[in-house]
């Protein structure tokens, strides 16, 4: 787990569901095949309706045409991020596209759990209504230990909720590493 995550922000609104994160027709690629695996990155967030893709302007692709890696490594979203299906392909797709942290007002719990147990990135929650404070393309920095987020483009800083009791799992790198470390398996 990195102490500082810095990079370009992609902004989304409320209730971004897993079908928008990775649509059902793309849940078929093998994760162990390095070429097929990239397809998850290519189609990450591909079904977000155009007007909502990359707020506030909208119509901004998360991953450029022909690419499998996103220019954006931090996602800022509203409430209930990741609602819907239990498909782990959703956090996996964000991970393969290069996401290192998601900051949302709240998460749907299966998605949150998948993010944590797979150790795909840091899922932060925040009491603040942040998606109106950031523009897609802003540069941000997260201080993981201090649970702090700074918008380097505007100079404003924000408080994140501490990772809490899942921090141990995230630090270990996922549920398997955590369970081995703590003698559960």
């Amino acid at each position: 787990m990195k102490d500082i995550i810095k990079g370009r922000v992609y902004v989304l609104g409320n209730d971004i569901d897993t079908d928008q994160i990775i649509p059902a027709q793309h849940l078929v690629y093998s994760l162990s095949d390095p070429e097929e695996r990239k397809q998850y990155g290519r189609f990450a967030l591909s079904s977000v309706p155009d007007g909502h893709a990359g707020l506030p302007a909208g119509n901004i692709r998360f991953v450029d045409e022909g690419e499998c890696l996103s220019k954006y490594n931090i996602i800022i979203a509203g409430k209930n991020f990741g609602c819907g299906s239990s498909r782990e392909h959703a956090p996996v797709a964000l991970n393969i596209a290069g996401v290192e942290a998601v900051v949302a007002e709240s998460y749907a719990r299966i998605f949150y759990r998948n993010s944590v147990d797979g150790g795909f990135y840091l899922p932060f929650e925040t009491g603040e209504h942040l998606f109106k404070e950031f523009r897609t393309g802003d540069i941000a920095e997260i201080d993981v230990k201090k649970s702090a987020l700074m918008n380097l483009t505007t100079g404003k800083s924000y408080k994140l909720n501490p990772l809490g009791d899942v921090e141990e799992i995230l630090t270990a790198g996922g549920i398997f590493a955590y369970a081995r470390k703590s003698g559960k398996i």
Binding site: D15, D17, D19, Q20, P23, A24, Q25, L27, V28, Y29, S30, L31, S32, S47, V48, P49, K79, N80, C83, G84, S85, S86, R87, E88, H89, P91, S106, Y107, A108, R109, I110, R113, N114, D117, G118, D165, G174, I175, F176, A179, K184, I185
Partner: protein, 433 residues
């Protein structure tokens, strides 16, 4: 202090006297279900973490049910089923309902119940968010991802945070024009798609006791649409009869305590409720039928784990009987058992299947999840362009049924059938005789 039904089941499986909401506990798992979307990924992680020669913790406690990508030529989708088959053979999985074989069942949540895998007092995890359907049988059932499923596959255990319970009580007699789908869409509309996040949703009251087992499944199926961790209904005579007809082993029903602590209790009187729909693009975008009737539709869809059971088609057929649909209406039985029963269950001497056929609906060649979740481009009933669809399925997020531009309304089978006859959203009361 007493415990709710959910807390009691979790305490039993954590081998603790008591648990409270917020506790993190490791629990023993009774059953793990996986399907063709998440099974291959689960198997991959299982092998990576436990080794190529690893065996599942119990070969009779892992149930594999391909259902999502069945009738498609998509080579990747077909490969998923090949992976499941090879794994089932290698591991000697006792319950593998292979596609294309006489054992094929169809939609996992309905098949699980039909085959007696859903049992009171037990803990069921499945790699599908609608695993919560099985709460209808008084068990703790919830959806998980591939990593958690792989962990269970190897250990038979998983950690859970004990959820607080929200109780929803339905009083009074169920009017003929309402179905369980109306009740759950009312709740989701009232509390929102995140109104029950990380909470148990317990359904109770005379109205729930009067519901059939299938209708209870519809109710619990959509707990996840409010963000719920699980939906649950206390087992009763109907539950025990249904389960004992399908499961020969011991059934140990668990009941909540009288003095259990609920986070909230919300009451509804059934006679005050109207048929409802969820408008595009969210299950909580509730409208009572009078607000949307007359809305143009291009197609209707009756199917899925939540809307493709015998009772759903019986309801639809009661309205379609002797009439013709005005718009393309797709019918997808959830399982082979449902498909069979449609041909033998009668309404006034005519089979449900025949009624649906004569009304001009298009009946799928076999049961599966079909267009409930979009899927490969040749999926039966998948939406195209900006089509407007009214559907008995459980989600209407953008792109869920295929096209990102299409609009999906969710409604009960009665409302969908009535709408099919008019070509516009229609109040089922106009047809109920």
């Amino acid at each position: 202090m007493g415990m709710t039904l959910t807390e009691k089941i979790l305490a039993n499986h954590a081998k603790r006297e008591a648990v409270s909401p917020g506790d993190n506990v490791w629990i023993d798992v009774d059953l793990l279900m996986t399907h063709d979307v998440c099974g291959p990924g689960t198997i991959e992680i299982f092998k990576k973490e436990f080794g190529a020669a690893a065996k599942v913790w119990a070969r009779d406690k892992v149930v594999i049910i391909p259902d999502h990508y069945i009738f498609t030529q998509d080579t990747y989708a077909r490969r998923n089923i090949d992976i499941l088959r090879a794994f089932a053979i290698e591991q000697g999985i006792k319950f593998f309902y292979d596609a294309g074989s006489p054992d094929y069942k169809g939609v996992c949540h309905v098949a699980l119940a039909e085959e007696g895998h859903t049992r009171p007092g037990e803990v069921l995890f499945g790699t599908d968010s609608h695993t919560c359907t099985a709460g209808a049988f008084g068990e703790f059932a919830t959806g998980i991802g591939n990593t958690d499923a792989a962990f269970i596959m190897g250990t038979g255990r998983l950690w859970v945070k004990v959820p607080p319970t929200m109780k929803f009580v339905f009083d009074g007699d169920m009017p003929q024009y309402l179905m369980a789908k109306d009740l759950i869409l009312h709740i989701i509309g009232d509390i929102g798609v995140d109104g029950a996040t990380y909470k148990a949703m317990e359904f109770a009251g005379d109205g729930i006791s009067a519901l059939s087992v299938e209708e209870r499944m519809t109710l619990c199926n959509m707990a996840i649409e409010a963000g719920g961790k699980n939906g649950i209904i206390s087992p009763d005579e109907k539950t025990l009869r249904f389960v004992s007809e399908r499961h020969k082993g011991k059934i140990e029903a668990v009941y909540g305590d009288q003095d259990a602590r609920y986070e909230s209790v919300k009451r509804y009187n059934l006679k005050d409720l109207e048929p409802v729909v969820a408008k595009p693009h969210s299950p909580d975008n509730k409208a009572v039928i009078s607000e949307v009737k007359g809305t143009r539709i291009d197609r209707c869809y009756i199917g899925s784990c939540t809307g493709g059971k015998v009772e759903d088609f019986r309801a639809a057929a009661s309205i379609l009987r002797g009439n013709s649909v005005k718009v393309d209406t797709f019918v997808v039985p959830a399982t082979t058992e449902v498909e069979k029963r449609l041909k033998v269950e009668m309404i006034d001497g005519e089979s449900i299947y025949s009624i649906l056929e004569k009304a001009g609906t298009q009946i799928a060649g076999g049961p599966s999840c079909a267009a409930c979740l979009g899927g490969p481009s040749d999926t039966f009933g998948r939406t195209k362009g900006d089509e407007i669809c009214i559907s008995t399925t459980n989600r209407n997020f953008p792109g869920r049924m295929g096209s990102k531009q299409s609009q999906v309304y969710l409604a009960s089978p009665l409302t969908v059938a009535a709408s099919a006859l008019r070509g516009v959203i229609t109040d089922p009361r106009e047809f109920i005789r």
